[in-house]
Symmetry: C3
């Protein structure tokens, strides 16, 4: 396994593109992270919109630049709306991304995520346990937390990426982003980020926003990870704990786009 | 078109009334802004409660002082509960307010908002694209964002206000509040507020709270806008970005009530 | 009525246990407080997961260490999922806790809460009006707010605790925690906490997490209250209002666990 370090210039370039293009990101995400996800997208210069009714979601995908599917608080009704939205995304040639929260242990979401894989996500972002479970190589983590390191999940990520021709970001202390042939490694951030709910889910929203940008998809997704890692490092240095982290993190994301 | 500047004394007076009367505001709002909306209402001295089941909502409206309807994450089931709550509000002579998020482009909410207009909202608060769409003068904005200025939407706001005898607040860089005959203009705030999710939705909650106060409704709604603009100006001056903005903004709203 | 002051050493001991054991807390809670609840649990070192689909919730309870039921934004569908989860908790010998938000005045939640009492919660956490309504001694408060003091509700709390063999925490300016025979009193915090949405709901999550720890349940629940009171006092001293309170509060909870 070989992984190249992400070029920092890509992070600056992608930050600039988010500002100048302001992709409209349709988020179908879980109940816990809605506000933080929206604020992260606003801070980088993107435009979030959460539209959830099945008919409206199908309609809205055609107007949006990209679609996020996050199964954290899945219900059967939401699964139906998400599936229709993904089908609309495919029909309208819009990229969509899967965040398979806690896949593996719970039946409904596990079956749903496996069904969605057939509909060709532009990218998948998960922690190590999630990516391994999605690739069929483990039974999932502990609740929404991983029990494996990202490096341990890299072979699973590469296999999954090749199998369905997508980009897989397996994130943790170090992030790995792979299309199955080339792999980029993204460092930074801190363990404090695991004490703030939604950092992973919000990263998935930035990942899907990056899929709406021009340029190489693998580079874009890795840059999305790099933007979040960099803000995470800055916020860790300048905060007293997970409470103050949130404000500094959003300010850092916003400042990066402004610079 | 003539618009008078809001008298700052009205802002102070209304802030005081929120504290002394603490209106109980029944919020049926979208998934993304629940926490921020509640915290804004608490900061100004009002008392928020989110009751969403159709039967409970109908029951609760009779105990509350005012009802907020925000269609940001509408579903068919929620539309039914909202309609029953609005009918209960009418029957119990409680003011209710409509925030027609992203009306125009999406079929379910557009039809629903137009149906609700017949049930006589005390006030409507939206951005320029939303107000123009509601008045039948455009097809809506880009996602939840406006593509027009508030000034451009003022004729639509005035027509809408006259047509259904309500107060319409069309908000943006400058806010205009009109009953179709008299128009008040509210300045302040900053573009940073557009990078924080929920500032518009929370304003709608303050607007509906103001409709539960004694006094002239047009003045009250304009004062609600003024309270948020003033806190927005203060918070912009004293924050480093959209993350730190939130805390300073809520502190400013709270301090205004305390003074 | 006699109540002993909570021993501060218990607070330190319980803070340590949260960190070292990191209980996995399954939260079925209301729409308004999801993020704050998760962040509070993360800050004390616990591991939150929000799983809401009826089938998944039933399945997840068996993997979690404890289950929180909060009826703030109850619907009929959610009530069904909650009931199945509680039954699964009972079958799997997992402690579960009830937060009876606004019980009394609203029919659906009042009937639901009374049904749940038969399924033996490990603990109940509510404000004075809620505990009195649950014990059949009043008709509830004003919206989600209490109209009584915790001391006034202590007889109701003690009667309820004896009746169904549980621990009842009636919280307010002073918290009382009772099993019907012994009562602990917890002081601290400030009225500023009533201007921040979710402090009570998040306390209920810490209470249920404490029910998954070894040791005496009454002591554990009182210590959970003590942890939140202490952080509330610290945050009140070090914040300028309810906005800045949130960050300082979470940092204080996190620091307590770190020390």
């Amino acid at each position: 396994m070989q992984a190249d370090l992400l070029n920092p210039a890509l992070v600056a370039h992608t930050s600039h593109l988010f500002r100048s293009r302001s992709p409209l990101v349709h988020c179908m995400t879980n109940d816990v992270v809605q506000t933080f996800t929206a604020n992260v997208l606003l801070a980088i210069g993107a435009s979030p919109a959460m539209v959830i009714d099945a008919d409206e979601a199908r309609q809205f995908v055609a107007m949006a630049d990209a679609l996020l599917i996050n199964v954290g608080t899945l219900t059967k009704e939401r699964a139906l709306a998400m599936r229709l939205a993904v089908e609309s995304a495919s029909a309208n040639n819009k990229p969509w991304t899967l965040d398979p929260v806690a896949v593996g242990a719970l039946a409904l979401r596990t079956e749903f995520c496996h069904q969605l894989l057939a509909l060709k996500p532009a990218a998948i972002r998960g922690n190590a346990s999630e990516i391994m479970a999605l690739a069929g190589m483990s039974l999932g983590g502990r609740g929404v937390d991983t029990t494996d390191t990202a490096a341990a999940a890299l072979p699973a990520a590469q296999a999954l990426a090749r199998q369905i021709s997508t980009v897989v970001a397996v994130t943790g202390e170090v992030d790995y982003v792979t299309d199955g042939r080339r792999t980029l490694m993204v460092t930074g951030g801190s363990s404090l980020m695991t004490r703030v709910v939604g950092t992973g889910c919000a990263l998935s929203a930035v990942v899907v926003a990056s899929c709406a940008l021009p340029g190489d998809r693998l580079d874009n997704v890795a840059a999305a990870c790099g933007i979040m890692k960099r803000a995470g490092s800055l916020a860790t240095e300048n905060s007293a704990g997970p409470g103050s982290f949130v404000a500094v993190f959003l300010d850092a994301l916003y400042g990066e786009g402004q610079a």
